[in-house]
């Protein structure tokens, strides 16, 4: 069976191979990313000048904003970091021949196109009387998501997210079982690479938070269609309860997106400093701590809903505690580089940028955790800037770091480093130009999700939109180096990063055999 690959359709539609499924996930993530990026680019183009230029009405703009959020979270970041890199490298790194449940693994993948199709359909069926699609934001708060959107558009979104949720739950079960049960002989849990640790913690978060989202979505669905009153005060319900249920999922979701990036960055920093990661156990348990505390901080997204002040104080304190394990990670990366023999390769550039920009996003997060300050900047562009610094520059930089780090291992080809460097620099300058000015806009009081704004916000909006064009050039360079690498076909050696890249995947060929580890590796 070793390198006996099935025929094309069997291989890609009916796959039970973790590497092929990982490739499918990554391809899916790139397509979704382009779609979500297209939506955001049009929004930025619209906001370049005050007044309404391209959109026919504000509903469409809000719909673009909502779908951009949902697509980027559920169909770009999660499939890329968990489905893509998790599938590819967790089994390779822990010395397992495949995932624990290879068939269920493929089910996890195939539910995602279903979810994406439902979400895309929703954009073309009636939402409200003023337009097609769902425009209630990715957070889907009622009553905007119930009586506010009587059309079937939001029902498609609900079904899509349920499918995506099941996909992630099955994926989580698969990863936890694989990591607990299939580590190579001698690889104790405390010798496991940090990427595997990060996916382990992420999977627990998915497993325990997604069912709550599923229930909340079902409540929305029944409120909309069969007349239950969960979120309807007239029947004794409370729209606020949706926010609690949603953020009980939504806050762990934030860590679901960023923890695998932490894992990727740890490997890259260690490889290109030619040093083992500083404080390995601290790094692993910092992620566990982030995961555990991440479950009890959700209402910091809800400071302005009229919560009791004691609750605000609790959620404020609990949220600030998360800065401690996160700080452990940041300082451990710095300590790993300290005195190391640093090579500024493309993945290392992404990793450096990740650390720098994630700290900015993290620090604005510490500000926002303060209930008093958050009351002033809640739902302004300050929040948009904050979460794009941790996502668009944290999670996405983590994805690009991992992609440039492992591209040769996955495809067997090396990319042109000048094209990849152009991708990095355009992207780096572009996203900073987009999002840094949004801090100023937020501080000036510009609200989120609006299509038009007063002239006083014009300057920094213009700068921000210029940044979007620069980012677009970066994305173009990404596609160019990707295509170029497959056309030119420079063969990648087994361990093309040389000394420092010492996890198990570098002992295999590039790309690895169809089924690896027929004789399990022994870890000393």
């Amino acid at each position: 069976m070793s390198d006996h690959k099935p025929k094309f359709f069997t291989r890609w539609l009916f796959s039970t191979n973790h590497k092929d499924i990982g490739t499918l996930y990554l391809g899916f993530a790139i397509i979704s990313g382009l779609l979500g990026g297209y939506l955001s680019f049009l929004m930025r183009l619209e906001l370049m000048e005050p007044g309404i230029q391209y959109f026919s009405n504000p509903h469409d703009f809000a719909m673009f904003a909502s779908m951009h959020g949902l697509i980027m979270i559920f169909f770009l970041v999660m499939p890329a970091v968990i489905g893509g890199f998790g599938n590819w490298f967790v089994p390779l790194m822990i010395g397992a021949p495949d995932m624990a449940f290879p068939r269920m693994n493929n089910l996890s993948f195939w539910l995602l196109p279903v979810a994406l199709i439902c979400s895309v359909i929703s954009m073309f069926v009636p939402g409200t009387t003023s337009g097609n699609g769902f425009a209630g934001g990715w957070v889907m708060y009622p009553p905007l998501a119930t009586s506010g959107h009587p059309g079937p558009a939001f029902d498609f979104v609900i079904i899509g997210l349920l499918a995506a949720g099941f996909s992630s739950i099955f994926g989580a079960i698969n990863f936890i079982t694989t990591i607990f049960n299939m580590r190579a002989p001698g690889m104790t849990i405390h010798k496991m690479p940090l990427m595997a640790w990060s996916v382990l913690v992420t999977s627990w978060l998915l497993l325990l938070s997604l069912p709550v989202l599923a229930a909340a979505l079902i409540m929305l669905f029944t409120d909309r269609t069969v007349g239950t009153g969960f979120f309807d005060p007239a029947m004794g319900g409370d729209p606020l309860m949706f926010q609690h249920l949603f953020w009980f999922f939504g806050h762990p979701e934030v860590y679901i997106m960023i923890l695998p990036a932490f894992g990727i960055i740890s490997h890259i920093v260690s490889t290109f400093s030619r040093k083992p990661i500083f404080g390995y156990l601290g790094m692993a348990y910092a992620m566990v701590a982030i995961g555990v505390v991440g479950f009890v901080v959700w209402a910091h997204h809800m400071y302005t809903v009229g919560m009791d002040v004691d609750l605000k104080a609790y959620f404020l304190a609990a949220t600030l505690i998360i800065a401690i394990p996160t700080g452990i990670k940041i300082f451990s990366w710095l300590a790993t580089m300290w005195g190391g023999s640093i090579r500024m390769t493309i993945p290392m550039m992404w990793a450096q940028a990740f650390i720098f920009l994630f700290v900015i996003g993290g620090v604005t997060g510490v500000y926002l955790a303060n209930a008093g300050l958050d009351t002033a900047v809640h739902d302004t562009y300050y929040v948009v800037a904050h979460f794009h610094y941790v996502l668009s520059m944290g999670a996405v930089f983590g994805i690009f770091a991992g992609f440039t780090y492992w591209f040769g291992k996955m495809s067997g080809y090396l990319y042109n480093k000048w094209l990849a460097a152009a991708h990095f620099w355009f992207f780096f300058i572009g996203v900073n130009l987009v999002f840094f000015p949004q801090h100023f806009l937020g501080m000036q009081g510009m609200p989120r999700r609006i299509v038009d704004y007063p002239d006083e916000f014009a300057y920094w909006n213009y700068v921000s939109s210029i940044g979007a064009i620069v980012t677009l050039v970066g994305v173009a360079f990404f596609l160019i180096w990707l295509v170029e690498a497959f056309i030119v076909k420079r063969k990648a050696p087994d361990n093309y990063w040389g000394e420092g890249a010492n996890t198990l995947e570098w002992t295999l060929s590039s790309p690895p055999p169809f089924h690896q580890y027929e004789v399990l590796p022994k870890i000393k």
């Binding site: 009916f14 693994n105 299939m182 938070s209 997604l210 269609t225 009153g229 005060p233």
Partner: protein
């Protein structure tokens, strides 16, 4: 098929059409859900019986006041049938692989982990429903007192959990009637299931099959009693203005017990499949994880019911 020896006990599954077909089934089912519950194509007065109107108008309307006959159920049923077909094919493959010895000890440990985590996510799913129930049951007045300025009548809202919009106390189902019978049925089914398992471990297939069959019958009895209760409840809905579905208690009641009932149906099917396998001489004294997984699932369903019975039926009624 292998070129050289594979020296590990893991199970490398051959390519399989089922996951992809599951995706197809999920897509059809999802379309069916939207059409059935929300409707995609409203009936126009000009052409009420066109193709689009028939298949894409809201299936629920068949049960509403106007009772329009339509095909809004079509995609939902088709999706469910496809899903059922996929599940039969998929699990038949799993059983075949199990019987052919692919489920080595290490693979069985993996299956155990998988089932435990599946149950954990099921627990979290019910946590959400109980969260709603307890939130409204315990903190309704507190929440009203936080927001007197935004609620038109904080006082009326405060005792809203047991009171409907008209300010009348709602009528609920008597916990010591059908729900008590159902509790006894489920608890009894737990004991017959344990009987079946112990008998099977002692290789007494005859009493194991009998006891498992009894468990399935008890599960069916539970579903029957629950159906009677629901039909009864539906009848009251038509006649009583203060019936429980007129407020938030009814929403939590129907959705929480409804999802529990749905899980009971799954559990009965799970147990029934294990019964069929036993009848056909499948599973062995040492290796019968399917039976154990079905038992775990059944006990989980049992525990959820006990929580529902104690809190949603009894404690609420005491209020």
């Amino acid at each position: 098929m292998s070129d050289h020896a594979i020296e590990h006990d893991y199970h490398l599954v051959e390519p399989s059409p089922w996951p992809f077909l599951s995706g197809v089934a999920a897509l059809v089912w999802g379309l069916g859900m939207v059409v059935f519950f929300a409707g995609l194509h409203p009936r126009s007065a000009e052409n009420p019986n066109g193709m689009m109107e028939f298949f894409f108008s809201r299936g629920m309307d068949m049960y509403g006041a106007d009772k329009v006959s339509n095909g809004g159920w079509f995609f939902l049923i088709l999706g469910l049938l496809l899903a059922a077909g996929v599940m039969i094919g998929w699990w038949r493959d799993v059983i075949k692989e199990g019987d052919s010895g692919d489920h080595t000890p290490v693979v069985q440990i993996g299956l155990r982990y998988g089932m435990i985590m599946f149950l954990m996510q099921e627990v979290m799913f019910f946590v959400a429903w109980f969260w709603m129930f307890f939130e409204f049951g315990l903190f309704h007045e507190v929440r009203a007192s936080w927001n007197p300025d935004v609620l038109e009548s904080a006082a009326a809202y405060a005792d809203g959990f047991g009171v409907n919009a008209g300010g009348h106390a709602i009528t609920t189902i008597n916990a010591w009637d059908l729900p008590l019978i159902n509790t006894l049925i489920l608890l009894l089914s737990g004991t017959t299931l344990t009987w079946a398992h112990h008998a099977f471990v002692k290789n007494d297939r005859k009493s194991a099959t009998f006891a498992l069959g009894l468990t399935v019958m008890l599960g069916l009895a539970f579903i029957y009693v629950q159906a009677v209760e629901y039909i009864e409840a539906y009848g009251h809905r038509m006649t009583e203005t203060n019936w429980l579905d007129s407020n938030i208690y009814g929403s939590t009641f129907f959705l929480a017990t409804g999802f529990h009932g749905f899980h009971v149906i799954i559990g009965v099917i799970f147990l029934f499949v294990m019964w069929l396998r036993m009848m056909r001489g499948g599973m062995t004294q040492e290796r019968h994880f399917g039976l154990e997984a079905a038992a775990w699932y059944w006990h989980f369903v049992d525990v959820i019911w006990l929580f529902l019975f104690v809190f949603v039926y009894i404690v609420f009624a005491l209020n």
